[in-house]
């Protein structure tokens, strides 16, 4: 099975681009399952289902959505196998710029909004720098010059990636993106590893501490001056 993991900041156009891709894959008679992960609320899974694609919804609630995605990959694969799918598409919530939910043999697709300005590729970190394919959206709203600068910045952060200029409204670039989905490596759940370690989640805030005074914090803490310490037993 090919596993496609799609990451990108909220509002970048992940769902809009994927809806076009799903149509193209269906025309090629591919059997697809999809999973939509979000934190608190989404109706995007209904839009996938409307395209005739069996879709599972996962809400991570107060848990990091990428940790949630990784813990549940097994269940997602079982779901896709149960549907006899060739391709499993996982759309992540992608909130913090420390996340990169791609595994070694998945196809990592980063969807990034060109209107956020040419410094964005420098800020977003591993979900851009470890992606196989970078789909740049909303390029029609900016000038060709700014598009070219944005593209150059993406290549600075991820020189080996394949860049596809896409448009979630018109479907521009989505035929090419759909083509990439069939080229992903074979996924093997047993041996699969993350490309980039997940963000640390090892302090008292992670388990529900709400007081902000420093006397209440335990675990691995990093100070603004760069010094890291362990507080606790």
């Amino acid at each position: 099975m090919n596993v496609i993991i799609v990451a990108g900041t909220p509002g970048a156009g992940k769902t809009a681009v994927l809806l076009h891709v799903l149509k193209h894959l269906k025309e090629q008679n591919k059997h697809i399952s999809a999973v939509k992960i979000d934190c608190l609320y989404t109706e995007d899974h209904l839009r996938f289902q409307k395209e005739g694609v069996p879709t599972l919804l996962g809400l991570s609630k107060d848990m990091c959505p990428d940790h949630f995605t990784i813990f549940n990959l097994g269940e997602m694969l079982e779901y896709a196998q149960g549907n006899n799918s060739d391709i499993l598409i996982v759309e992540t919530a992608g909130l913090c710029h420390r996340c990169a939910p791609y595994t070694i043999n998945s196809l990592g697709v980063c969807v990034i909004d060109a209107t956020t300005g040419p410094n964005t590729p420098l800020k977003v970190g591993p979900f851009l720098s470890t992606a196989n394919v970078v789909a740049i959206t909303k390029g029609d709203i900016i000038s060709q010059a700014e598009r070219e600068i944005f593209r150059e910045r993406v290549l600075e952060m991820n020189p080996g990636c394949r860049i596809i200029e896409t448009n979630g409204l018109t479907g521009k670039g989505t035929v090419e993106l759909a083509g990439c989905f069939s080229e992903a490596s074979d996924f093997s759940y047993e041996e699969e590893e993350l490309r980039h370690n997940a963000p640390f989640s090892i302090c008292t805030l992670c388990v529900g501490e709400t007081k902000i005074h420093k006397k209440n914090h335990r675990g691995v803490l990093r100070h603004i001056n760069g010094i890291q310490e362990y507080a606790g037993e």
Partner: protein, 268 residues
């Protein structure tokens, strides 16, 4: 070297084949693209910009010199043969004019000392001067548009130029057109401005997402165009008077400044 680009028919919004098989545009030609809003003019320009190969929503194919272009030409800005002035009127990049021009020159593999030249020419098209230390985001619509035009002319400097509604933002459109065309370039210009449309050798008429027909500019249209040009110049003068706070006197008569052979040629 580009001698020609060709557009092979795709489909309109209803999925029906367009009313032509193929359009060939050769070196030095200026072609207009006209039609109501939503008729697919910008989509046609997009197809050419990305050298579509039946992989866009219109299913059109674009050939260069009668053959399918190398994929590198589609993506690599250093090899790109196509410069595009799109409809947008503002920059969103948060950087100075100078940094922007240097960065873009790098992307295009151009000499980095184009900055002053680009700013000089941009300032010929707009009222309020652009300075290189200004931030892109504070430029007015007219300044942004003028800088985009000069950037396309000198930094993106490509054998094919696509222009989407240059008449927007109140910049000097004829001077801008001159800057962008010439030197054997292939120019496609989307416009609602009848004067610009009649200045072209041919115009592509769009309807419902598809190309409806291709229209060669007639001799009659050409001479009408010359007269309209005079009208346009007068309008420009009045506009500048209004903009600079000068009272426009009744004695400022259009008729006087028309060439004596001016007659509206529209009735037949």
């Amino acid at each position: 070297m580009i001698n020609s680009i060709s557009i092979l028919a795709g489909k309109n919004k209803n999925g029906l084949k367009e009313h032509f098989n193929r359009i060939d545009i050769s070196r030095g030609e200026i072609v207009g693209i006209v039609g109501p809003t939503g008729s697919g003019k910008s989509a046609l320009v997009e197809d050419i910009e990305q050298l579509a190969q039946s992989d866009t929503s219109t299913q059109r194919k674009v050939l260069i010199n009668n053959s399918i272009p190398d994929p590198e030409l589609r993506y690599n800005p250093k090899k790109k043969l196509i410069a595009q002035l799109s409809q947008n009127m503002n920059f969103i990049a948060d950087m100075s004019v100078k940094d922007f021009l240097i960065l873009h020159s790098k992307c295009r593999g151009k000499n980095l000392n184009l900055v002053d030249k680009v700013i000089y020419h941009a300032n010929q098209l707009t009222g309020e001067p652009i300075k290189k230390e200004m931030n892109l985001t504070v430029l007015s619509g007219g300044q942004s548009r003028s800088l985009m035009v000069a950037d396309v002319a000198f930094v993106s400097d490509s054998p094919v130029v696509l222009i989407d509604e240059i008449e927007n933002a109140g910049i000097k459109k004829h001077e801008a057109m001159q800057l962008l065309s010439g030197n054997g370039k292939i120019v496609l210009v989307v416009t609602h401005d009848p004067l610009l449309a009649l200045l072209t050798q041919r115009r592509i008429v769009m309807e419902n997402g598809g190309i409806k027909k291709i229209f060669g500019t007639t001799e009659e249209e050409r001479s009408l165009c010359k007269q309209l040009y005079q009208v346009d110049k007068e309008l420009f003068k009045v506009r500048e008077m209004v903009r600079s706070g000068v009272e426009v006197k009744a004695s400022f008569s259009f008729q006087e400044s028309f060439t004596s052979d001016f007659q509206p040629v529209l009735e037949d």
